[in-house]
């Protein structure tokens, strides 16, 4: 993972895109509604800062940087998993029974992924930087990719009209599929230098692609107001109608 001008440029472009997404969420007063998205963005930003600190303090070939890089990647993958769960919930906002079933499934899958991650990481902590971490990350990203694709198919099946959610899911799909393919390639190529350098370019590019799509989604695409909120507004409007009628013109 040798830092180059290209990588540094991509990194700063990612920071700018993250801030842009947060800015547009804040401007549309949607930070509270999109709390999981904001949390994931905060995690991305935090991870970027930790990695930069590790890189400049200890150097690219140090064990400290390697630990900070791969362990923060695990945190990001787990955060992405939670984000996918939150997007599932948003997609099922009008289908409470379906959500009840999916919630149980997602909780079980998350418990399984977190449990397996914890056990295998604690068992392999001493020889973390063999092919183990590559295989582990590859499986984690692939699990997220499969779940994300299931979400995309579910939205198509439910004929969802939430365009913003659709764009968010497509962005996440890019973010998961690129690194999953690349990690699998690294594993098959037994971590040879060309596969490693491909990873150092492809992974940030996929993150930038995802953030660009998200920026487009929050800045340009109108968000669909959930049914619950529109129902509350309808009740409020109905309650205010007699008052408005009684008000002298």
């Amino acid at each position: 993972m040798r830092p180059s001008l290209f990588n540094t440029g991509i990194q700063y472009a990612c920071y700018a895109a993250e801030l842009g997404v947060v800015f547009f969420l804040g401007r549309r007063s949607r930070l509270r509604d999109e709390v999981w998205l904001a949390a994931y963005l905060a995690a991305l930003l935090g991870v970027g800062i930790i990695r930069s600190y590790g890189l400049y303090s200890y150097g690219v070939n140090s064990i400290q940087y390697a630990y900070s890089y791969w362990l923060t990647d695990v945190v990001l993958a787990l955060g992405a998993f939670l984000l996918v769960c939150a997007l599932f919930r948003r997609a099922c906002s009008r289908h409470s029974r379906l959500w009840a079933t999916l919630r149980t499934m997602l909780v079980s899958v998350f418990a399984l992924v977190a449990g397996v991650s914890f056990i295998s990481l604690s068992k392999n902590y001493d020889h973390l930087f063999s092919m183990f971490i590559v295989e582990f990350q590859q499986n984690l990203y692939f699990a997220c990719l499969v779940l994300n694709t299931l979400l995309y198919l579910l939205m198509a099946h439910l004929e969802s009209t939430d365009e913003q959610l659709n764009w968010l899911v497509i962005g996440l799909g890019l973010q998961f599929s690129g690194p999953a393919a690349n990690l699998a390639f690294m594993y098959l190529a037994h971590s040879q230098s060309h596969s490693g350098s491909l990873f150092s370019y492809l992974s940030p590019l996929c993150t930038l692609g995802m953030l660009s799509i998200w920026l487009y989604a929050v800045a340009r695409v109108p968000s669909e107001v959930p049914e619950r909120v529109s129902g509350e507004l309808a009740v409020e409007t109905a309650a205010l109608r007699p008052l408005r009628a009684a008000r002298p013109s």
């Binding site: 499986n139 692939f142 764009w167 497509i170 799909g173 599929s177 999953a180 393919a181 098959l188 799509i213």
Partner: protein, 158 residues
């Protein structure tokens, strides 16, 4: 080893799937009016005729002529996209992505011809890309010509 190969194949396929979905979603954008027709007529572009022939009459495809026709339209429209009514003389991010998608579709058309598969789906997708470009160019030209003036205001100011 088998698992990693499986993940590599599926993830790569899904990567391209998501890129294609992104492009298709951009192409589904609705314009406030049909701008493409004037650009097609003014520049004698042939892709609407090709699309009509394929969609309505399911005519047999003359590959060499079809490829040349679409290539010429693609080059003309990408040139206009950059130079006609574009103050920055630069492609936007969306346009760059769609230009790459168009090139990938040309490659897909070539592969389909080589493997003797049906060329119609790739041609229709290419026509959709060209239609989008024509709409964008038409919209820009329309905006630049009149600025904030309505056509009647423009005529009165002469």
């Amino acid at each position: 080893m088998i698992m990693a190969t499986l993940i590599l194949v599926i993830s790569t396929a899904l990567f391209f799937f998501y890129i294609q979905v992104t492009c298709q979603k951009i192409l589904r954008r609705k314009f406030d009016q049909e701008y493409a027709a004037s650009i097609v007529n003014a520049n004698r572009l042939e892709f609407p005729a090709v699309r009509k022939a394929l969609e309505e009459f399911d005519a047999p495809v003359d590959y060499a002529r079809l490829r040349m026709t679409l290539r010429c339209d693609f080059l003309a429209l990408t040139y206009l996209l950059k130079n006609a009514g574009n103050l920055n003389q630069r492609y936007s991010h969306e346009e760059r992505l769609l230009i790459m998608y168009g090139r990938a579709l040309f490659f897909s058309l070539f592969l389909r011809h080589l493997l003797q598969l049906k060329e119609k789906p790739a041609v229709l997708k290419l026509a959709a890309v060209l239609q989008y470009f024509a709409n964008i160019v038409g919209q820009r030209v329309n905006r630049v010509r009149f600025g904030n003036l309505a056509p009647s205001d423009y005529l009165l100011s002469l």
